[in-house]
């Protein structure tokens, strides 16, 4: 993991941002209320700061999964036809990698965020916060990451260590060499 690569631009950015802080030049646009922003914004960061109240367990999630998710992802999360969600751990460095929530996704908060914003595909946004926590717990349980009775909520979810948490590196390009050895 080469997060240090990201740190240098970040430092530079802070300087830029400070230099650019100034009063508005055009005064076009309106100021939204804090309430309007809260209603609008559903983005959940990896620290889970924006996660709403609510909770769920894998046991509760199993019922919701069967009703709302299984038609697309299979009864056990492995059958498809759409994205496989379960299994695949230990396959990423083989000739047949299986990328699932359990084998590939680095942050548990992303599961909650994506189910909440985009699932189920026929009615995105229709699950309650409790239901999203429960389905998230179900997927974590099916992937062997938590126990069936573990309660997933705004506090516990960001603390979950995903198996592939350290499986990502930043862009190393240029990464290939010409046979003559020159800069690609």
């Amino acid at each position: 993991m080469r997060w240090s690569d990201l740190l240098i631009p970040a430092v530079f950015l802070v300087v830029c941002a400070a230099a650019q802080a100034q009063s508005p030049a055009y005064g076009v646009g309106r100021t939204p209320s804090a309430k309007a922003i809260r209603a609008w914004d559903i983005a959940i960061g990896p620290e889970g700061k924006e996660l709403p109240p609510g909770k769920g367990t894998a046991k509760e999630g199993a019922t919701i999964y069967a009703q709302r998710c299984a038609a697309c992802h299979g009864q056990t999360g492995t059958e498809g036809p759409f994205s496989r969600l379960v299994g695949g751990q230990g396959t990423l460095n083989t000739n047949r990698p299986v990328k699932t929530v359990g084998s590939y996704w680095p942050f548990a908060t992303t599961i909650w965020d994506y189910i909440n914003r985009a699932m189920p595909d026929d009615k995105p946004g229709s699950l309650s916060a409790d239901q999203v926590y429960a389905v998230t717990a179900f997927l974590l349980y099916r992937n062997g990451i938590i126990q069936e009775s573990d309660v997933i909520d705004a506090k516990s979810l960001p603390k979950i260590q995903m198996p592939n948490r350290n499986g990502f590196v930043s862009d190393p390009r240029p990464d290939w060499k010409t046979p003559s050895g020159g800069r690609n």
Binding site: P9, Q20, V28, R30, L92, P124, F168, D171
Partner: protein, 404 residues
Amino acid sequence: MKSSRRRFLKDGAILTGLVAGTVQSASGQTPGPEEAAHRSAGFVRAIGERSRLETSARAWSDSSTGRVTSSLTPLQNSKGMITPSMLHFERHHARVPDIDPRQYRLLIHGLVDRPLIFTVAELERLPSVSRIYFLECSGNSRNPGRGNAETVQGTHGMTSCSEWTGVPLSLLLQEAGVQKGASWLVAEGADAAKMTRSIPLTKAMDDILVAYGQNGGALRPEQGYPLRLLIPGWEGNISIKWLRQIKVVDQPYMTREETSRYTDLMPDGRARQFTFEMDAKSVITFPSGGQNLPGPGFYEITGLAWSGRGAIRRVEVSTDGGASWQDAQLQEPVLRFAHTRFRFAWKWDGGEAVVQSRCIDEQGGVQPTVDDLIRVRGRSYNYHSNHIQAWKINRNGSVQNALV
């Protein structure tokens, strides 16, 4: 007014039919120039349409699930550098939303002094710019180790180039007043999946556009109507369409599209993340797979080159399977982050030939071969492949993908 225009159209259609009937009765001969001049497509019309004989169209692969999420630009018929808006490739993650711009709002908030909400009309009041940029899906010309198509539409049809008009994102961020500690943005679309990507603030302050115009008109619905991000040179999916929110934050939000998707799995089991720039790439669009050369003689080889790292400096063409390379002519203007048309005069001697192009961008990046990339990246990666594409011309004039 309306009804008289309709009558004109109807008369025109009848006239066209009559002329076509007359021509057929002659003796099976094709009409000469004089007869063709008598054909008519009618008088004026409110929305222009191309000739009925022009059939170039986007194409897609049927999906076993019945949900097709991308269509490809017919590069084999492309001329010049601009893609007609109606033929711009599509890639969407949850269908194309049908949005009324009068109801539409963009919210900018997070680490800013003044959260702001804009209507499209308000954005159009602000100082605007127009820029010609390519937009390319990161999966375009995917790793041939994962399968390859027969035509240039199939291999490379997920790049297009348009003139985009809008407001610099930096202007909107300055209006909002970015706070200390901010380093990333989270951009979110209004499609059913509320597609979301994290974007470094440096790029936003540099050259990102909040665009409402495409090739002189409004954005097409499948291109984000009424409002989208246009992030020059970077993988297409980060240019969030139907843009509804910019949240200024202090770290990437690790969204689904930048973790489980659009990351490249390497042979060691690790995956590359935040691979933003599309590397220098070129492809010959004529002659290309599926086309036919009627016989030996002169042909102008032509194609497109582009780079997410700036302007194209040079394109070379080989007609002998890569044994020798010669400079192609670049059509001006040669713009940063735009398609550049190249041309190369060629006489086909009627023998088997393999034609291919490679380009160099302003940073000195040149196009690698497939083998160069697979040697380092393996066969599991799917995105950001910029390998050289070769087409084989057979003795009978048929052209096929030489990498299949």
